[in-house]
Assembly symmetry: C2
């Protein structure tokens, strides 16, 4: 088998320490191409650029061919897979995100949307996130976890239409209790908009909020992370609520 072709992207932008750590590990497994946003794109969800042009700058990151892209994380995957890479990549790796993408964060996360887009293109894909928002986060343990997960991804076929949401507790490697395969916890953000007034007297807002976990289950990503496990949620993109179809049939 030829060397795997690996696409690396993220949502914190091509200069973030987290993507550097991910590239370092990815390089051990194959030929790495980086296509990542040229600026932070956190919270972009599955956004795509439909009414503007997308611009790129070629560069080198960690010794690998890299492209800084003006678009969203999903744009980066689409552009890489359909235009920039020499062939369809064997895997897509997104991250390592500075901050958690567990539970409901999956739908807001550009990191995870890039991985979902990879899965949509039938490429084994994973998003990695470390539970530390700081620019100075220590990715030493995360790199070991990434190495284990990528090894598995290259050895075994992922279930169809599925990518992995891998969240890593912010502790030393020796304190990590292992990996748990989980479901997404039932949780939500309680928003608290910070209202301010500009010099001209107009109101404006900062989105702030508090993450609230409503889920008492021990099979969730939140439980795993709180108990020093790495959580892996298999993520799919069919949003149909199948159990609701029958209930709504009377509307026909």
């Amino acid at each position: 088998m030829s060397k795997p072709l690996i696409l690396v992207t993220n949502d914190d932008g091509i200069t973030a320490p987290g993507i550097q750590a991910l590239i370092q590990v990815a390089k051990e497994f194959g030929e790495v191409h980086v296509v990542a946003p040229d600026k932070p794109q956190s919270g972009m969800g599955h956004a795509i650029t439909v009414s503007k042009t997308i611009h790129i700058n070629e560069t080198i990151v960690q010794g690998c061919k890299a492209v800084a892209c003006s678009g969203t994380p999903v744009d980066c995957v689409k552009l890489a897979v359909n235009k920039l890479l020499p062939r369809k990549p064997d895997i897509v790796l997104s991250g390592i995100n500075h901050g958690s993408n567990s539970s409901i964060n999956v739908i807001y996360s550009g990191t995870m949307s890039a991985a979902v887009e990879g899965a949509l293109e039938n490429i084994p894909s994973a998003g990695f996130s470390l539970l530390n928002n700081s620019i100075d986060a220590d990715f030493t343990a995360s790199k070991k976890i990434v190495r284990q997960v990528v090894e598995k991804m290259l050895e075994e076929k992922l279930p169809d239409n599925t990518c992995l949401n891998v969240n890593i507790p912010d502790i030393e490697y020796d304190l990590i209790n292992g990996i748990k395969i989980c479901r997404q916890a039932v949780a939500n953000w309680e928003e608290d908009f910070d209202e301010r007034t500009d010099p001209a007297g107009n109101k404006y807002y900062w989105l702030t909020g508090k993450f609230v976990n409503y889920d008492k289950g021990t099979d969730t990503d939140e439980w795993a992370l709180a108990n020093n496990y790495v959580s892996i949620v298999p993520v799919q993109y069919d949003l149909t609520n199948y159990s609701a179809i029958e209930k709504l049939k009377s509307w026909e």
Copy 2:
């Protein structure tokens, strides 16, 4: 029961004909507040504004209190529910979108992400889309469909954690065969980036593509729409692939 409080939003922006049509119908059912993007936000998916401020302008649309918001459709719902409205709305209506949000489009759609955000806040929510991208689209039939769906939403409880993805074929009302409760069809976009060169010699790209339906089922939204039915997909936001959890347990 007091008059329902209805939040109306969209992703085509507060000036789009589609939201005017939606407001006209919503007004028949209760007190309407409009909080919608101040510019087109198509393809924004579940994006939120995390590192910039959100600005608003108060206005009146179709005789209703309205706010044009600099944020994404999801920002609009969060800001409306948590800050701007007098109380939590009884329902959230998003649209009417100029163009289809059936099948996989649900994950790219700002219209549907606004409805999903409503569901996340435990508010009965629906996104409406007409299969016509034109600014001159005729919303006459769509308004009748919206009326029927909103009536049902106010009469009956929606299943938990679920919003409705309502797509309407672009035909006269008398030619519509009825409503079908559907699952999301298995389909995807085949991207075809249009590569151009700017005057300085740098490459840039337009995202274009072709929608491809891989699904032969007769229980899908694509089938319903192709057969002149209105499609309603109950949409939820737990992305866990439950069937994959068992398969991946060996990774623990």
